[in-house]
């Protein structure tokens, strides 16, 4: 559609004026050959990840240590990444899918086993991230960074009376709030508030969540569905009192503006991990595994979190984290949070009626 508009503009440009007679001398149209793209002689590691998601310093050190080049390409959604990998247009060694697309990638035969016996630092992974149900036995994935979902506020303008989803889902209707623009996060939060699992496939539970959400988005205080950076800006500008947000997105801002605060509601919340996976078409799997092993080193892993402000699944890296991050309760859920199920991974839903129900609830909420 956009291009059609351009065409229209172009036709207008030419159509408007007629040249009665132009100079007969005109330049010949020679085809030019563009210069070839230079290709590196040495080894290259190609990584496909979220933007701004690794400390450039860490990458440079690996390049020096191994005498290789690391090329990092970025994507902006799991879905786009999948489409590009499935089309087979690009040969990457590693990618960082979120946990909920891992099973899809396994089914599409895009991955090869990580072979964790070859990773000398695999033992550093924190217990809560071992043997996740989206990848039993960590056959294909190594956790890279995680994002718990919390509620954020601007303490200069509003101090929440409790660390609870009640502020949003309860009867109170003067609190202004924004929810994440993500079906699983929003429905998951409602499920948690009602005491159910974020991965519930129970029709009755989902119906209860739907009714709750219907009431919630009709409240006076409901402002919008919005993404992390947007919510952060709205808090700073005082447009909202509370915002559902990925903790990392908030902490990035909180490092600069101390008034920004975030907590994990006591009823429990969702968590998602981005993982490192080895792609089937990897031109250089040995080098890729060395990179994964490198990322698992405590210093490296900590440096990455200190740069991105996202959660760190590396047990050995915890003492090396920025004191600011360590001081944030929401930054790292405790092992008990994991074992008690207070903090739950968002999983891919089993085929059947549940995905349709989630879809229907979300469509209704968005088109209200």
């Amino acid at each position: 559609m956009r291009r059609a508009a351009w065409l229209l503009a172009g036709l207008l440009l030419t159509g408007c004026h007629r040249v009665e007679r132009a100079d007969p001398a005109s330049e010949g149209n020679g085809t030019t050959t563009p210069p070839p793209v230079s290709r590196d002689g040495g080894q290259t590691l190609r990584v496909f990840m979220w933007s701004d998601y690794i400390d450039p310093e860490v990458v440079r050190d690996f390049e020096k240590r191994e005498g290789v080049r690391v090329v990092i390409d970025t994507f902006e959604s799991n879905e786009n990444m999948l489409a590009k990998l499935q089309g087979g247009g690009a040969s990457y060694d590693l990618a960082t899918p979120s946990n909920y697309v891992v099973q899809t990638m396994v089914r599409a035969q895009l991955l090869q086993p990580m072979d964790k016996a070859k990773l000398s630092n695999f033992g550093n992974v924190a217990a809560g991230f071992l043997n996740p149900n989206f990848d039993p036995g960590n056959t294909y994935t190594v956790p890279y960074q995680f994002a718990a979902t919390g509620l954020a506020y601007n303490s200069g303008r509003y101090v929440p009376p409790a660390e609870s989803w009640r502020l949003i889902f309860g009867p109170e209707d003067r609190v202004r709030f924004a929810l994440l623009d993500d079906p699983r996060e929003v429905i998951g939060a409602a499920l948690k508030y009602l005491g159910h699992s974020v991965n519930s496939t129970d029709v009755e539970e989902l119906r209860a969540a739907r009714d709750l959400l219907r009431r919630t988005v009709r409240k006076r205080g409901f402002e919008s569905f919005s993404g992390g950076p947007e919510t952060r800006n709205k808090l700073l500008a005082g447009q909202i009192d509370l915002g559902q947000i990925y903790v990392g997105d908030l902490l990035q801002g909180a490092a600069e503006d101390k008034r920004l605060k975030v907590f994990l509601p006591r009823e429990g919340t969702t968590i998602s991990t981005d993982t490192l996976v080895l792609l089937r078409g990897s031109p250089n799997p040995a080098l890729a595994r060395r990179f994964v092993d490198y990322v698992l080193e405590p210093e490296v892993s900590a440096a990455i979190s200190n740069y991105t402000y996202y959660g760190n699944p590396n047990r050995a890296a915890q003492p090396l984290l920025d004191p600011f991050l360590r001081s944030q309760k929401a930054f790292s859920p405790s092992p008990e949070d994991f074992s008690s199920g207070r903090v739950e991974f968002i999983n891919e839903l089993p085929r059947g009626v549940a995905p349709r129900l989630y879809d229907r609830i979300w469509t209704e909420l968005k088109s209200r």
Partner: protein, 270 residues
């Protein structure tokens, strides 16, 4: 005598313009904002431009963008002009299907086009690999992908430019002893030039801001500016991207102004 515009209509027009251009203005102003997140005004600074120029990935992406835009524009302008001429000059048996094919890349959604090309290149690569060759998606695949949609624009602008002229031009040229090539070069091309130029400008700007097709056809390690910008959005746009966007707006505006100056009707030369 032309009727005067009613003040109501003029006011409406101003509103429309404000609606179109205020966001751009906000962006430009905020590229000078001394805040990392840009929600509130924290004072004037030019440091984001410094940050921007220090980024090697941005410089590389800019080079890639310009290389692709210039080369694909040249190729598609030559080919598109020839097709436009052919469509005007000859009664082709397959005229209707051909026109249909030309319009296709314009109305087809970008995603479809991108995935289509991605699969096509994968197929070609498979074939070449069996023959013992290798190639990777990168500059060439992106460049040819851009040519595929640019040709349509150039052809259609050239054809619409020529539509007003009769075939007698060619006959007159032939009477004066010109063969088809000479007639094309010395008579038709100069007449079509505004169409050719605006087609080329259009192709150039389209190539500059194309994200979807580029994203799908670019392989690994080859990034253009739109790809760089768009893939940063998810994690929050940093203010140096505002600075970059401002520069792009200024640059595009300059190209358009230059274009309209080039295409201004020339008077008093009859």
């Amino acid at each position: 005598m032309r009727p005067r515009t009613s003040p109501l209509l003029a006011g409406w027009a101003w509103l429309v313009y404000a609606f179109l251009y205020l966001p751009m203005l906000v962006l430009i102003v905020f590229s000078f904002n001394d805040s990392r997140f840009g929600a509130t005004w924290e004072g004037f600074t030019t440091r984001w431009y410094g940050v921007l120029f220090a980024r090697s990935d941005v410089r590389e992406a800019l080079t890639n963008t310009l290389l692709v835009a210039v080369s694909s524009t040249l190729i598609s302008t030559v080919l598109g002009t020839l097709v436009g001429f052919a469509l005007w000059r000859y009664t082709l048996r397959w005229r209707t299907p051909l026109t249909f094919l030309l319009v296709m890349p314009i109305v087809i959604p970008d995603v479809v086009m991108g995935v289509m090309l991605l699969m096509f290149y994968a197929l070609v690569r498979g074939g070449l690999e069996r023959a013992g060759w290798t190639f990777e998606n990168g500059f060439w695949t992106v460049m040819f992908a851009h040519v595929t949609f640019q040709i349509s624009y150039v052809t259609l602008t050239v054809r619409s430019r020529l539509a007003g002229y009769g075939q007698d031009l060619m006959e007159a040229a032939a009477d004066l002893g010109a063969n088809t090539f000479q007639a094309f070069r010395q008579v038709i091309l100069p007449l079509a030039l505004p169409g050719v130029l605006s087609g080329a400008l259009l192709a150039f700007t389209l190539s500059l801001d194309d994200f979807v097709v580029t994203y799908f056809t670019s392989g690994s390690g080859f990034r253009t500016l739109p790809v760089l910008i768009y893939t940063s959005v998810k994690r929050g746009v940093t203010p140096d991207i505002n600075a970059l966007s401002t520069l792009l707006i200024v640059f595009t505006a300059a190209v358009i102004v230059a274009g309209s100056l080039l295409l201004r009707p020339r008077r008093g030369r009859a």
